[in-house]
């Protein structure tokens, strides 16, 4: 299987190529520059370096959210454009699940936390279920936008050790360190943020488990939050058409 994978949901811009089931390469940058300027040139450079012809892909795997609204759309629109041009489908991978894949096979619960501003995080709780061959990602708590404290309270109730990762960890580090009553570790530098290789691996696992990729036209990010205007309108008790 051949895949292009991308993730621009947070500050990290990351692209990866899979060819014949092998990770050909990954190009990841954790630097403040607009993804609009960096993401496609990174992919272009990676394709050139790895001698990869985009026309050979079977699907485009893209981080589908949650995350920065604009960041998600930069990745989504680029993925849709490529998929449309190549007449290939899109594999929409949850940003949080792809993050959890950084700790594939771990015994602990995996809790990705992305800074969602407004005193919230985008976070889910995942477990890798050991199977005859490898492990399978299972959802312990669905991804949602919620206060970090609420997620920590849930984890404390679960009586299991936890691995935290994501850009929400720095923001809420003190909170985690003071509130967590179970053993936990914070992800090391090299496994802390989004990785397109994880998006690709998660996408491949989804396909292997029988999930269907979707036509590019039907793909849209999962924001997990309505726009502010819709929220305010709902608070006023009106419904949007």
């Amino acid at each position: 299987m051949n895949l292009i994978a991308l993730d621009s949901s947070g500050q990290t811009a990351t692209v990866a190529l899979v060819s014949g089931g092998k990770l050909l390469g990954e190009y990841t940058i954790n630097h403040k520059k607009t993804h609009s300027q960096t993401l496609m040139p990174m992919l272009d450079a990676l394709c050139t370096a790895a001698e990869f012809d985009p026309a050979a892909v079977d699907a485009i795997a893209v981080s589908a959210g949650p995350g920065s609204f604009t960041g998600l759309r930069i990745g989504a629109a680029a993925a849709k454009g490529m998929a449309q041009a190549l007449d290939k489908p899109v594999i929409a991978v949850s940003t949080l699940k792809a993050l959890a894949w950084q700790f594939y096979g771990s015994e602990e619960l995996v809790c990705p936390m992305m800074d969602a501003r407004r005193a919230q995080v985008y976070s889910g709780i995942y477990r890798f279920q050991r199977e005859a061959e490898g492990a399978r990602l299972t959802v312990v708590a669905e991804g949602a936008a919620l206060p970090a404290e609420e997620q920590l309270a849930r984890l404390n109730a679960m009586q299991e050790p936890v691995i935290f990762l994501g850009d929400g960890v720095e923001v809420h580090r003190t909170l985690i360190e003071t509130r967590m009553q179970r053993p936990f570790i914070l992800a090391p530098l090299h496994r802390r943020y989004q990785s397109a290789a994880c998006v690709a691996a998660c996408a491949a696992a989804m396909l292997a488990a029988g999930e269907e990729p979707m036509p590019a036209a039907l793909f849209a990010p999962e924001y997990l939050r309505p726009s502010q205007a819709e929220r305010e309108r709902a608070e006023r008790g009106e419904t949007a058409g």
Partner: protein, 342 residues
């Protein structure tokens, strides 16, 4: 200029229309697809940027697909992919720009970023094979009021611009104040038929230090003050008269500035562009003023006045033949100035 046929797939998503078109040699529209979001934004009384960006993302594939199908072409057969890269709502622009880059990269096509206002001006080339620069052009829309001298293809001198509200914005605000709702332009245009444009003497604002700049916020305030004083004194408000008198005040200033530019430049051609260019009263006033001076008057068909991608394809053609190509680092520039290159 070569005899070669150039077909450009163009994308526009700078505000609340998701649009794609295929245009041949800058003048012949093979397809022009517009997916409007107006129904949803009407619920909020104006364009909500985040909702616009989300809707663009949902619709863009279908719109591009339809544009290619209607033109009877595949992406492989187009010569380039063009996209509006500014000015506009940054989140909305980014959807079109990112999608266009995905298309261009995967299909191995040249990419051309286009200025939205240059698109509006270039809408005049569509269906008018004889129109050539130089000519002055007035661009009036919900977001822009620019009086521009088009020196050559892709070469512009901004003579004047609004210092505050865009003309279309003033239409929206006045329409709201007299209870006509959003979008204001077409509603004021329609109700004005029943009103007396001389009923109320609203001011024609001059910008002291500039011959060509515009200011519409004073006019808007004058309308609001008038409405307020009517309410205070219990005088009945004739909405048609208010609309007609307000519209006349806007039109008078626009025509006067444009005619001054023609006198100064000596061109025998004038063009109107932008969403407000489909306002019937504005068109009639320009037709009359140009006819009286022996000036050839151009304006795009209404479908090319409001935001559309055909106009982007028209502007992109002249960039294409000049050899302009953008890299995959093309960004959306929300405040891109006219004539400025990305």
């Amino acid at each position: 200029m070569s005899e070669q046929t150039v077909r450009i797939l163009a994308i526009e998503s700078s505000c609340d229309e998701t649009a794609a078109a295929v245009v041949e040699n800058g003048r012949r529209v093979l397809s022009n697809i517009i997916s409007s979001q107006i129904d949803i934004h009407t619920l909020y009384g104006g364009v909500v940027p985040e909702i616009a960006s989300r809707k663009h993302t949902e619709r863009i594939c279908q719109v591009v697909d339809e544009a290619l199908k209607k033109a009877g072409m595949t992406l492989a057969e187009v010569d380039a992919v063009a996209v509006t890269c500014g000015p506009g709502l940054v989140g909305a622009l980014l959807v079109g720009v990112s999608h266009a880059k995905g298309l261009a990269f995967a299909a191995g096509k040249p990419l051309i970023g286009v200025h939205h206002i240059e698109g509006h001006i270039s809408a005049n080339y569509i269906g008018h094979p004889e129109l050539k620069p130089p000519f002055p052009c007035l661009v009036v829309s919900g977001g822009h009021t620019h009086l521009v001298r088009v020196r050559d293809y892709g070469s512009y001198e901004v003579l004047g611009r609004t210092r505050d509200d865009a003309a279309g914005e003033a239409f929206d605000k006045v329409a709201r104040a007299i209870g006509l709702g959003y979008p204001g332009g077409p509603k004021i245009d329609a109700i004005s038929d029943e009103g007396d444009p001389a009923a109320i003497g609203f001011p024609r604002a001059k910008v002291g230090d500039s011959l060509y700049d515009f200011s519409f916020s004073g006019l808007k305030s004058a309308v609001l003050n008038y409405l307020n004083s009517c309410r205070m004194s219990g005088t009945e408000i004739n909405r048609a008269d208010v609309a007609a008198s307000f519209q006349k005040a806007v039109v008078d200033v626009l025509v006067e500035h444009a005619m001054t530019a023609l006198e100064e430049g000596g061109e025998k051609t004038f063009a109107l562009a932008g969403g407000v260019a489909s306002n019937r009263h504005l068109r009639a006033a320009f037709e009359e003023a140009c006819a009286a001076r022996g000036i050839a008057f151009y304006r795009p068909e209404p479908v090319y006045c409001t935001d559309n991608a055909a106009m982007i394809g028209a502007a992109a053609y002249y960039e294409y033949i000049k050899g302009v190509r953008h890299g995959l680092d093309l960004n959306a520039v929300p405040n891109l100035k006219l004539g400025e290159r990305v």
